[in-house]
Symmetry: C2
Subunit: 279 residues, 2 copies
Amino acid sequence: VAILGPGLLGGSIALALRERAVPVSLWGRRQEVVQEALAGGFAPFASTDLAAVVAGADLIVLCTPIGSMPALARQMLGVISPETLVTDVGSAKGGVVEALGSIFEGRARFVGSHPMAGSEQTGLKFARADLFAGAVCIVTPEPRSQPQAVAEISAFWESLGALVRQTTPEAHDRQIALVSHFPHLLAATLVEMVAAEDPGAFEFCGPGFRDTTRVASGPPPMWTEILLANRQAVRKSTEAMIEKLREIAKMLDSDPPEKAMHHFLTQAKAQRDCLRLPR
Amino acid sequence: VAILGPGLLGGSIALALRERAVPVSLWGRRQEVVQEALAGGFAPFASTDLAAVVAGADLIVLCTPIGSMPALARQMLGVISPETLVTDVGSAKGGVVEALGSIFEGRARFVGSHPMAGSEQTGLKFARADLFAGAVCIVTPEPRSQPQAVAEISAFWESLGALVRQTTPEAHDRQIALVSHFPHLLAATLVEMVAAEDPGAFEFCGPGFRDTTRVASGPPPMWTEILLANRQAVRKSTEAMIEKLREIAKMLDSDPPEKAMHHFLTQAKAQRDCLRLPR
């Protein structure tokens, strides 16, 4: 297995495969990260030389920022075979899967993936062999994907302990906007709202604020890319949230508001309590 | 120390005091909870008889829902002395401190408190002796509060490991609306927004959605009371958030949005990363 981009996800895949005695090679853009990966025992072979890393691999996993995936994909075309399996771990799928699917058509067997196991923490030092254990991993075939390739990619994630779900790239983006992309933006917006209203309030942060805003500490370049790759759906979620908050404001203005508020909080709690959440 | 209301906070205070060999008595409204507290060793004495529990106590800590505090306070007037220290752990302070301050004026030394150590988990079974270790506890004196009483209440929380901050009940409510009350409502609203837009998206919840919405699993009756006790400030935060989300929508519509989005996420991350957050 060749892993391109040794960050939190790439590093965790490497550690999980090491535990399973699967031979891994790692590609990193910077020599410094390649050295760190080698020193940390993430893989017996790691290099900044893409051809050397992907040559002979049965499976290539793209774990770089989504914006750099198409260029990397094109660079490896000369070294891979039509039988090579390729997947990626990008958080937005529509544009990425379309681009990679076209580049690899007839040149490799590509199927997109999205393991829901990220964190606000980034880099090799947070990588864990069990990062995918119990995590949902969404596999996003296109009509042109080979069923056999889809089955092999699914089996790969299942071998790392993930719960595989399958959906189209378009449905993925619509639904992930709701439970991941927009909530990220919402957490950042909450921090900025408090900063604008009264930064003195930050003195009083409890565990609630810590958790509600945790994802706002994620890497801005990565999240800028993700949010804008799924701009339309994120925009729609923003509008839906404004609408819901207007209803909340109306509820707070109603007289008396007790019954409506209790009903609203009870529904939200019931809804959340029945979700299957990670760990 | 007499603790009224053996839930998560009351139970945790009892356990922390047991560790410090401070004698504790517990009052509960229901015989069932009193039995649970006795069986769990939370206190050597627990009862549904308020007078029996508070008689002779140097410090009384009200840990019941805020709505029931004034009635309890009036019931104990015959048994306490003007030297008795009284505090509460209510999440909203303006109305509560005003009501309790008036009831206890000349009858006991009352100072309000708010330990920022709650959770979506409730009840004795989640109580922990170290719940307050490193947690912020806000002490909210009024002009009529005795400085000596304020110092004693502060020292009490510090003895449990809390970091004590002091502010007025009014400033407390304005600031806690921003970092606790409104974020609670926002988490519930996010759950309900997703439920309304596409409940199928709940299949794909990752650690981000789990944490962003955790507080929405808190007890609806308690949170209805808190949110409405601080209705005006929560209303103001709701309006401020709608305004911020409108700016976000505008940012998503701008062309190109990359620079503004990256700047926004960078600011939010920088702001959050420098907060002193619990644990």
